[in-house]
Amino acid sequence: MPDVLAVPIEHQFDDATQQREAATMGMWLFIATEILLFGGMFLGYTAYRHAYPSAFAEASRHTLIAFGGTNTAVLLISSTVMAFAVRAASQNRRKLLGLLLFVTASLGVLFLVIKGLEYAHEINEHLLPGRAFHIDAADPQHAELFFYIYWLMTGVHALHVTIGVVLITFFAFRAWFRDAFRNHDTPIELLGLYWHFVDIVWVFLFPLIYMIDRHS
């Protein structure tokens, strides 16, 4: 199998295995830092929801669960497509890899569009915290706090989606036109890890934001 030798090995590594293991471990550590970055915000959410449960429940009902729900589906599907892309990369099927990455990126864009429409709706409804903020609730001050956290967490998440979309598009071009990942699928695997992480953050955000006491 002469192709295996084609993997470029950087000078500090002894062999391809060491290089791959180092890169993979680096990515997992990076994800750990990301978890802690979001962790600070989740802690803030937890503290305030615990302190003001009824204000949070009331504010949560002003969110658009149809948009949030659709977006959850969009991201979950994109993650599935990404999983197929990683498999295509390991099988050296570069056109398929490129195609699947394009689909993943497009779903990411769709997510951002839906999120943008939702934001636009909320701005029109005066749900963007600030001077214009207005909400019909028993405790408007803490309902506003909910919306602070909502905008912040979904905003930081959307930033991560945007970075992901840019990276995936870039990798898709490299796969389609340059055949860049032949026998070298580690970058795709790590890109997949990142994308799944972004997806999972949303899976936690969705119920916390849209579904407080929705059963009643």
Binding site: E10, H11, Q12, F13, D14, Q18, E21, A22, M25, G26, L29, F30, A32, T33, E34, L36, L37, F38, G39, G40, M41, L43, G44, A47, Y48, A51, Y52, P129, G130, Q141, H142, E144, L145, Y148, I149, L152
Partner: protein
């Protein structure tokens, strides 16, 4: 005296490759280098610069405190001075000091690797650090910040004047540099060790850098998001921490100290690592209880994440939380004490040589012990209520950070200077400066324990007249300390050109870094070393016999 025996080191093999210093002479070859050794030098120059910026602010403060009245600077300027001193010293000197300079230089050498796992990321860390530093300096030049290094809300987010956002941005960016460095070290230590170099054969320095890196990676992101929230609150009125908008300022303190307490261990563990290398070498003895010291290192890292609440005993934190945090803070002293006892036991029946690095190491042990024990006073709830926010706290953490970390950094710098530059520093002058620093340090900070106990609060330019005598002592000590810090800068630079050529192993130390030439070639080793034994294979009795033969 001992220098005669030390010269008997094996002759350097003829070099086939240029040293890392000779491999490219242009500025471009330095600014675009991915060589961990060169990046270490870049960091060394940068943090030295920041050290003197932070030191200048401290000098102004000590001058102001010579007299009880506020006659040198206004209260507002004084606030800015201690903020600059805190921010610059914590984020731009202490946190990067040993990890990024000695760590970058030594981690690959000590584990027998050619470089760190991600050399480009390593260079990017330095650029992030410098970009963060640029924001901080911009903020200082254009008017400064008067919040203190802790940026407590709602003062920082609502009321403070000055460039809080620029300063926070600087720390935020530099923080990502720290994260990248920590990530790099963890992966390097996990994946790039030479054949035969098992975990329990690693030098203790590697253990401490490993634990430090874990803290950097897990704590710094929380600081990043906390400062972001603070800055958003300041810029756009996002009221997460503002009680006027339904937020809770205590949440800021929890998040801030969740980072900043572990960060305290970032500022001491690497110093412990250096001392753990120095003491066996200059006592010519195996480290006593190696495994326990390794476990203690990791234990300090783990406990470090669980004690942040002891900074908040007098905030409105629940008294039960305070009790738990108090107990856990006492628990940290156990692994710390294990280390001190093991260093002491390593000295016992050793063949001790009082060369400069050893002077720093011994100074470290004494000063760290004082700093650690006074930390127990502060961990005790009732005592903390009495001395909270007084000079007692200032003295306590300066004994750890300056008496500990700075002494460790300087000791390590002297110890590895021959490896880094290929030259020896002038021993007599170096000893003189080590002693000067030790005396100056104690004269500066010991009176502050008494001042704090008597009730002098921190962060005020004016104080009651009865405190003046002790403050004059402290300022006098600070000027001696300043001399002690300028001296090494002068003679280390001098030694670059006129120092004696060191040879590969001037201290006859063990460790892979001493098996290659000084300065090492770009790829570190001619061929990958194979490790067959644990660290610190010193023999005190043989060393003693050799010493006597030399004197006879």
């Amino acid at each position: 005296m001992t220098t005669a025996t030390l010269q008997a080191a094996p002759q350097p093999r003829p070099l086939t490759k240029p040293t890392y210093l000779a491999d490219g002479k242009t500025i471009r070859s330095w600014l675009l280098t991915t060589d961990h050794k060169r990046i270490a030098i870049l960091y060394m120059i940068s943090i030295t610069l920041f050290f003197f910026i932070g030191g200048a602010a401290a000098t102004m403060m000590r001058l102001e405190l010579l007299t009880p009245q506020g006659d040198l600077v206004t209260s507002e300027t004084y606030n800015k001075l201690f903020t600059i001193h805190g921010v610059v010293m914590v984020w731009f000197f202490l946190i990067p000091s040993i990890p990024t300079v000695l760590g970058n230089f030594l981690v690959p050498l000590m584990i027998g690797a050619r470089d760190v796992a991600f050399p480009k990321l390593n260079l990017a860390s330095w650029y992030l650090f410098m970009a963060g530093g640029a924001f901080a300096v911009f903020s200082i030049i254009t008017g400064g910040v008067d919040t203190g290094w802790t940026f407590y809300t709602p003062y920082s987010s609502t009321y403070a004047n000055g460039h809080v956002i620029a300063m926070a941005t600087g720390i935020f960016i530099a923080g990502f540099g720290s994260i990248a460095t920590g990530l790099n070290f963890i992966v390097t230590i996990h994946k790039m060790r030479a054949p035969g170099l098992t975990w329990f054969r690693l030098p203790m320095f590697i253990w401490t850098i490993y634990t430090t890196s874990l803290i950097l990676v897990l704590a710094t992101p929380v600081l990043a998001i906390t400062l972001t929230l603070m800055a958003l609150e300041r810029a756009f009125g996002v009221g997460i921490f503002n009680p006027a908008m339904g937020g809770d300022p205590l949440l800021f303190q929890h998040l801030f100290w969740f980072y900043s307490h572990p960060a305290v261990y970032i500022m001491i563990l690497p110093g412990m690592g250096v001392v753990s290398e120095l003491i066996p070498c200059f006592a010519r003895k195996q480290m006593f209880g190696y495994r326990f010291v390794a476990y203690a290192t990791v234990a300090i890292g783990v406990f470090g994440f669980l004690v942040w609440g002891h900074h908040m005993f007098v905030s409105s934190q629940s008294i039960y939380a305070g009790m738990i945090f108090s107990i856990l803070s006492f628990a940290v002293s156990v692994p710390s004490a294990i280390k001190v006892f093991n260093w002491t036991a390593t000295l016992y029946k050793g063949s001790i040589r009082f060369q400069t690095p050893m002077l720093y190491a011994l100074g470290f042990v004494g000063l760290f012990t004082i700093g650690g024990l006074t930390g127990l006073f502060l961990a005790c709830l009732a005592v903390d209520v009495h001395v909270h926010d007084t000079y007692f706290v200032i003295a306590h953490f300066h004994y750890i950070m300056v008496g500990g970390m700075v002494m460790g950094y300087l000791g390590g710098l002297h110890f590895w200077w021959p490896k880094i530059t290929g030259r020896l520093y002038p021993e007599r002058l170096a000893k003189l400066s080590a002693v000067t620093i030790f005396l100056g340090f104690n004269l500066t900070f010991f009176p502050q324990f008494i001042l704090g106990y008597l009730g002098m609060p921190r962060r005020y330019p004016v104080y009651a007249p009865e405190f003046q005598v002790l403050n004059v002592f402290s300022t006098a000590g600070a000027s001696i300390l300043a001399v002690g810090y300028v001296l090494p800068l002068a003679y280390l630079l001098w030694s670059l050109r006129w120092g004696r050529v060191a040879g590969p192993n001037p201290w006859q130390a063990t460790g892979l870094e001493w098996t290659t030439s000084s300065p090492p070639p770009t790829d570190n080793f001619e061929k990958t070393p194979i490790v067959t034994e644990g660290p610190y294979a010193y023999d005190a009795q043989a060393a003693e016999a050799e010493l006597e033969a030399g004197h006879a």
